[in-house]
Each structure stands twice: as C-alpha cells, then as structure tokens.
C-alpha cells in the first residue's frame, strides 16, 4: 500500500468518524464563534488601522479552533489505545502523520468556510485586495499551524496538562507564520501593501517544518 494511499485512509477514517458525531465541528465552531462575538463588542473597525487589528482577531479565532481540532484529533486515537494499534501495523509512521495533518487541515478549512463570512459580517468588512492570493495564504497558514500542531499533539498525547502544553509549544514556534498570515490578511482587507513576501515566508516555513516533522515523527512516537 503506497505512502499516499495510507495517508488518505487516515483522512477518510477521520472524516467518517467526524461525520458520524459532528462532535468536533460543533465544539470548534462554537468556540471560534464566541471569540469573534466577544471581540466585536470591543471594537468595530472603521479606520485602516482597525482593519489591521481585525486581521489579528480572525487569526486568534483560528488559533482557538486549531488547538481544539488538534486536541480532539488525538483524543480519538487515545481512546481504546488506537495509536498503539496503528503502530502495530506495517504502515509507515510518517504516512500516518501526513494523513492526520491533512485531516486536521480539512477540518480547519471547514471551520474557515463558516468563520470567514461571519467575520466579514460581524466586523462589516470586505476584501479589498486579492482574495485569490489570500486564499493561498489561508491554506499555507493553516498548514503551518497543523503540521507543527499535529507533531506536538502526537508527542504529548500521554503527557499531563496536555491541553496547556500544546499551545505553549505550538505558539512560539508558529510566530513567523502568525506574523505572515496576520499581515497578509491585513493586506487583503485593506487592498494595499505587499502580500508576496509573506507568501514566501509561509512557503519557506511550511517546507522546513513539514520536512522536519516527517523526518522526526517516527522517532518521537517510537516505543521506549
């Protein structure tokens, strides 16, 4: 069974599981929605400066959503020790990792489909800039969060205070990606400024960390 097919199998399983219960999507959406609503109490962006701030708010909502998705993604594997069962199979660990990443990104993108329009409505905004380029930024940014997040979530799956530890590990590492996506989103909202440099930063970040994660994944989930 090829590497890619193995990964897709994991994606299919996670999607099927989620379709049955919709537990995660509900929790994630609700959480992120709450963030947007609470922030809209504190300001309504009128000036350009405030549009820039709104960009940050959107990504905070995505961060909350992301950490929720990552947590639950491995909760499913932890119940009934399925992670051990996966390790027993001859499937390559990095293929399993890739599959998990793809599944998590899909869940986040699904959340984005609902969150972004709501965000535009709540803050009375519109994309003045290049939406196509921004969608690329959205995808790259989510991959950046998910690739490291999935790695750390798999690593800390049995550690105490895991819900606290995951964001503690993920956020400092993701600073470059976060700067890039917030800036690029501001550019897209304002319709001025350069997005290209941030896209390059994201591509570099994603390439480096995807490679690193694939290289080291087997090592960190190996038995002791």
């Amino acid at each position: 069974m090829s590497y890619w097919t193995t990964a897709m199998r994991i994606v299919a399983k996670d999607l099927l599981s989620e379709a049955r219960t919709r537990e995660m999507t509900n929790a994630v959406l609700f959480f992120a929605l709450l963030v947007l609503v609470l922030f809209s109490f504190s300001f309504q962006p009128a000036s350009d400066e405030e549009r820039r701030l709104a960009s940050g708010v959107l990504w905070i909502a995505f961060l909350f959503a992301g950490v929720s998705v990552l947590d639950r993604s491995f909760l499913r594997e932890r119940v009934n020790d399925c992670l051990d069962a996966l390790r027993l199979t001859p499937a390559s660990a990095s293929a399993l990792f890739l599959g998990k990443c793809v599944a998590n990104v899909l869940f986040l993108l699904l959340a984005a489909v609902i969150l972004v329009p709501l965000f535009l409505v709540f803050f009375d905004l519109s994309f003045r800039g290049d939406v196509g380029a921004w969608l690329l930024v959205l995808g790259l940014g989510m991959w950046a969060l998910v690739v490291n997040g999935t790695f750390f979530a798999a690593m800390t799956t049995n550690v105490r205070s895991r819900e606290l530890l995951l964001p503690l590990l993920l956020l400092p590492i993701s600073v470059p990606a976060l700067i890039a996506v917030v800036e690029a989103t501001a550019v897209a909202l304002l319709g001025e400024g350069a997005m290209r440099v941030w896209i390059q930063v994201l591509i570099a970040f994603d390439a480096i960390y995807t490679t690193l994660a694939l290289l080291l994944f087997e090592t960190v989930v190996e038995g002791t």
């Binding site: 069974m1 097919t5 193995t6 199998r9 399983k13 099927l16 599981s17 049955r20 219960t21 499913r76 119940v79 009934n80 020790d81 399925c82 051990d84 069962a85 996966l86 390790r87 027993l88 199979t89 001859p90 499937a91 038995g223 002791t224």
Partner: protein
C-alpha cells in the same frame, strides 16, 4: 541452538524491562514454536501484559533480546505476521465493526482480498450479525469479538492474546477456546494470557508462570524442550 531458535515464532532471551525504578520484567526467557499454544499466567501485576507488548514490539526491552520469526527488528513483514489482542479494544468507537476492519485491512495492505478476509474473520468470531453497528453500541462481549477479528485480520502467524476470556459468558468462552484450538491447528503460534488457568487446561502445550516480573516456572512446549531454559526463581 541458533538453528532451532530461527525456526521459532517467538523467542525471549534474558529480557528485562524496567520503567525507571519499576521492574516489569526480569530475566525472562522462553520460546514458542508454530502450531503451539503457551499459556502465560501469573497474578495481577506479574508483567503479563508488558511481556505481550514487548513481544509485539510496542516496547523495547531494557536488556535481552526478542526474536519474532528470527527477526530482532519490527520490519513491515514481521509486523504483518503478528496479531495482538490487548486490554484496550483498538477500535474506533464511531465506526462500525466492518468499517474498523476495512481501515485496518488497508493499513495491513490486504489489497483485493480485504473484503473476503473481513467477511471470513467476522464469521469466524461470530460478529456478522452486528457488523454494521457502531462499536460504541456494542456490548463488552461483542467488542471483544471484533477486537479478536481485528487481531487475526492479516492472518498472522503469531497471535498474542491478552486475557481473551475476561468478561465473557460461558458460551463465548467456549467459542474462544475453540477458535484458539483451530488456529493452532492451522499452524499459528499462540501466547495466551489468563489468570483463569483452568480455561487453558488441556489446550496449552506449554506454560510460563510469572511472578512480579520473574519467571516462576516454565514448562516448554515439545519443540522447545532443549532450546531455552530461563533462570527459574526458587521459593525461599
């Protein structure tokens, strides 16, 4: 001694497993050949589950060697030949028995014969009637059957069963015993844990008794009589 060892399904040579200060296994040696059943018994905390996990390559021994079909490392081929039934069910709660098996069949690269094998193992363990129901709706006994089906899905030559009888009613116990005997007949090597030793009476070819991680007694199956002899504890 090495050619006899190579033909064995599972060999432990002086295996120790410690977790920091805790000693889970200490100087455990035994062997198991194809077409044989070894009963692994001992009280709670004796190290039976740890032993099975080490045998399945889920844990690495702190010292000593573990050979499965002559291999020291868990290559994909070796993994395909090992089936583990653990305390945890290894099943995804929201998926049906069938969907679970299909998923694992893909990971074990069963390819085209996957559907056929799934149907066969479900029938073997008697889980056909509820194959479409989500695992979370199944009773303990039903789950155990599906877990067992999962363990034999890839038609492994070495079966490691951790307490296969626990929580089962009399009829299910009988069915499981019959399955174990049938698998032995097909040439599989089985290492079965239980603390109800009477259930394996008359079936087991050998018995390994653990006491707090050490081998209390070892009765080797016929093929292994001369091969390995572990240091056996003497009662004071």
């Amino acid at each position: 001694m090495s050619e006899t060892l190579g033909s064995k399904a599972l060999v432990f040579e002086g295996v120790c497993k410690t977790f920091g200060e805790t000693v889970a296994l200490w100087q455990v040696s035994f062997a198991l050949g194809p077409g044989e059943i070894v009963a692994l018994t001992g009280g709670n905390g004796a190290g039976k589950s740890t032993l099975l996990r080490v045998a399945a390559f889920l844990l690495k021994p702190t010292s000593g060697r573990v050979l499965v079909f002559g291999q020291l490392r868990p290559t994909p081929d070796v993994k395909r030949r090992i089936g583990l039934l653990a305390h945890a069910s290894f099943l995804y709660e929201d998926l049906s028995a069938e969907e679970n098996l299909r998923f694992y069949a893909a990971l074990y690269a069963l390819g085209r014969e996957a559907e056929e094998r799934i149907a066969r193992v479900l029938q073997e363990v008697g889980a056909e009637d509820f194959r479409h129901r989500p695992v979370r709706t199944l009773s303990h006994g039903m789950r155990k059957r599906v877990s067992l089906a999962r363990a034999v899905l890839s038609d492994p030559d070495l079966l490691l069963l951790d307490e296969p009888f626990s929580g089962l009613d009399v009829a299910s116990v009988e069915r499981t015993r019959a399955l174990i005997v049938e698998w032995r007949r097909r040439g599989k090597a089985l290492l079965v844990t239980t603390h109800q030793t009477e259930l394996l009476e008359g079936i087991a070819d050998g018995e390994l008794v653990l006491d707090r991680g050490r081998v209390r007694s070892w009765r080797a199956p016929a093929s292994c009589r001369s091969a390995v002899s572990p240091p056996v504890m003497e009662r004071a």
